[in-house]
Symmetry: C2
């Protein structure tokens, strides 16, 4: 596990990896019951007749699982992974039995123009299944802090 | 409840509404334990010391709850709400006790150039709390079918 990363520790092109997340049938359905109750996420037979041609996880389940993989992976920002916004795409469905991992890369770093203690880092995270197929592409803007911001804290105490 | 909507039934500027979704402390923490285990989503004291200054829901919890509101609201596309991709932003945190609703508007309709039975509709969905503050802005591309595509089915049987 990395130590917490500050703005000064980051550079464009820096890469991060994650552990694994298994999608089983029961989890796919349980998520769908709570958040995305549509037939192709809930029922095998109905899913066969849909554009998915079989049970598929909600894209928001994939997004949530990706967040777990990011938070528990080696991309540890000081202050946490705090998203301001994102672009997301789901090029292929996630199926029961799929095992996902996430590969991330920093594509942009922008120090704040108004708040000297922070900045925004853009991270492209591709969620990949066991067949090396991308099932989600997430480009997220995350809040990142400068080490100096923390360093001022002891002086105030 | 509306009947299912096809491409021919949609127009730019068309609006849709949802029911309500309550965020309580236990749900916020349970979602975070499973998908976004960071201190400011899990623990009141830790959240006080974070940029959120108090317990806040994971943005992915807000996204998932928004999907529930969309699926159970009056925006009923024939074939279901199938997202190809989206842009998402979280302008303010969701707090314990918040009650959210979603207001959606169609901003773009693009018939497919290669598949005559379908198209893509862009829908802007603003998730609003009980104080009329937007907590999420989602601009999603959804798959939409033409009525004609279904009408051909009986001819094949």
């Amino acid at each position: 596990m990395n130590r917490s990363l500050y703005l000064e520790d980051l550079h464009v092109g820096q890469r991060f990896t994650s552990g694994l997340y298994n999608f089983d049938r029961d989890r796919i359905k349980a998520f769908a019951v709570e958040f995305d109750p549509q037939p192709f996420h809930l029922d095998e037979a109905a899913a066969q007749d849909s554009v998915f041609h079989g049970l598929a996880a909600s894209g928001w389940h994939t997004a949530a699982a990706t967040m777990r993989l990011l938070v528990t992976g080696d991309f540890r920002l000081a202050g946490g992974l705090i998203g301001l916004g994102a672009e997301i795409a789901w090029p292929e469905p996630v199926r029961p039995g799929d095992t996902l991992r996430v590969e991330s890369e920093i594509t942009e770093i922008s120090p704040s123009r108004t708040k000297p203690d922070r900045g925004v880092v853009v991270v492209r995270s591709i969620t990949i299944n066991q067949n090396e197929r991308p099932v989600q592409v997430l480009t997220a803007k995350l809040l990142v802090f400068r080490r100096a911001a923390d360093a001022t804290l002891p002086q105030l105490l």
